[in-house]
Amino acid sequence: MGKNGVRVLFVILIFVVGLSGCSQEGNLAVKNESVSEFQGDVENTRVTIDPGESYTTSIYIGKTLAFIGPSGLTVTISGSASTKRAFSDEVEITSDETTVYRIIDDVGACDFTNRYNLQINAISMKMCDSTEFGPNILGQDRAIAPGTTKVIQIDPGCWDILVNYGRQELLDTVTAIPIEVGDEIDIPWVPGYVYTVLASTRAR
């Protein structure tokens, strides 16, 4: 093969490589700026992100040729944390850029632990200035066994909790629980438990 043949092959090679399409990628950084651990899915991958930590991943967008083809891709982020309601958001990832998604608290939480030797049948709540308790937030057939904890997400405000426990369905009330967005409080419940702010608030 002469010099011209090599040149022609080289030009064809450059042409074909140029036509093979350019791969487009972008980066996605999910920052957990809430006070509680996030668990969810990022682009179909199960992730757990501790408070203050980030999860960064490279997202493959697709192939382009010159100006034709995708320059971005929509990915779905879903999940929840104790102080973040369950959500599902779509985020646009742009080629050669890092897109940052921040997880921010939008609710308070109560880690309600059954320290008594009888199971809790139902839990109802009401605002402190209200007169009637709402429906059972545990749902049917979802009791809290002795020694176990149920995380309850609570809107900001002052709350009273009505506890129904034991086979005889005894009642107990925990009153005046102040909650703000980003609060996560512990209630190690036994009958007669009295909530005190300083001892129970873990984070804010």
């Binding site: 042409f15 074909v16 036509l19 093979s20 399409g21 179909n44 493959y60 967008i61 697709g62 192939k63 382009t64 040729l65 034709i68 083809g69 995708p70 891709l73």
Partner: protein, 200 residues
């Protein structure tokens, strides 16, 4: 004197030989030129292509096999039918070959520009239906999850080199657009090498 005459004869002989060769060339070239398709003739193209999807989650392209047949309505314009099988995205995942195949069925118009007796450039436009067949994909290529038939079209440019009289070799670049029903148009390109035949 004899020597002079011999030299003169030799010159004549060379001149005649050169003229004969030139004449032969002209005859050959004019024959080839007339071999290019003209009105009412048919041109068939048999192509092998590198095909690549240019959409979200597209993997590496692979190959396409295409055939088209057109009738010359004028000396420059042909219309006809094009069929193909194009694998536009391909990936091997743990021993499994994920592929995205497209079967275009198109009505195609092609316009030829003769730039030399052996050489023609052409531009084409086509429209029709595309059968899209994704196979074993985890992520949908271009948002297409399932097999479907959608309308679309293509544009292309290329050349034919009629090296063998009524048959020739050529290459073309073609871009296909399909209304797949997702957010953006599904698109792929083909870089194709053709073997073309002219039929009376």
């Amino acid at each position: 004197m004899r020597l002079f005459r011999r030299r003169t004869d030799l010159k004549k002989l060379k001149t005649i030989s050169a003229a004969s060769a030139l004449l032969a060339c002209c005859v050959a070239l004019s024959g080839t030129a007339s071999g290019q398709a003209v009105q009412k003739q048919y041109v068939a193209d048999f192509g092998a292509a590198f095909t690549q999807a240019t959409v979200t989650k597209a993997q590496s392209g692979l190959f396409g096999l295409d055939i088209s047949m057109g009738k010359m309505l004028t000396n420059n314009l042909s219309v006809g039918l094009a069929l193909g099988y194009d694998v536009v995205s391909f990936q091997k995942v743990e021993g499994i070959y994920q592929r995205f195949a497209i079967f275009p069925i198109l009505a195609k118009a092609k316009y030829y520009f003769t730039i030399a007796p052996l050489m023609q450039l052409h531009a084409s436009a086509a429209g029709g239906m595309y059968q899209m067949v994704p196979h074993l994909g985890v992520d949908p290529v271009g948002g297409v999850w399932s097999a479907q038939t959608k309308p679309g079209g293509s544009v292309g440019i290329g050349f034919d080199y009629w090296r063998f009289g009524t048959s020739g070799l050529g290459a073309e670049f073609e871009y296909n657009f399909i209304d797949s029903g997702t957010e953006d148009l599904f698109s792929y390109f083909a870089f194709r090498v053709n073997y073309s035949i002219i039929k009376m």
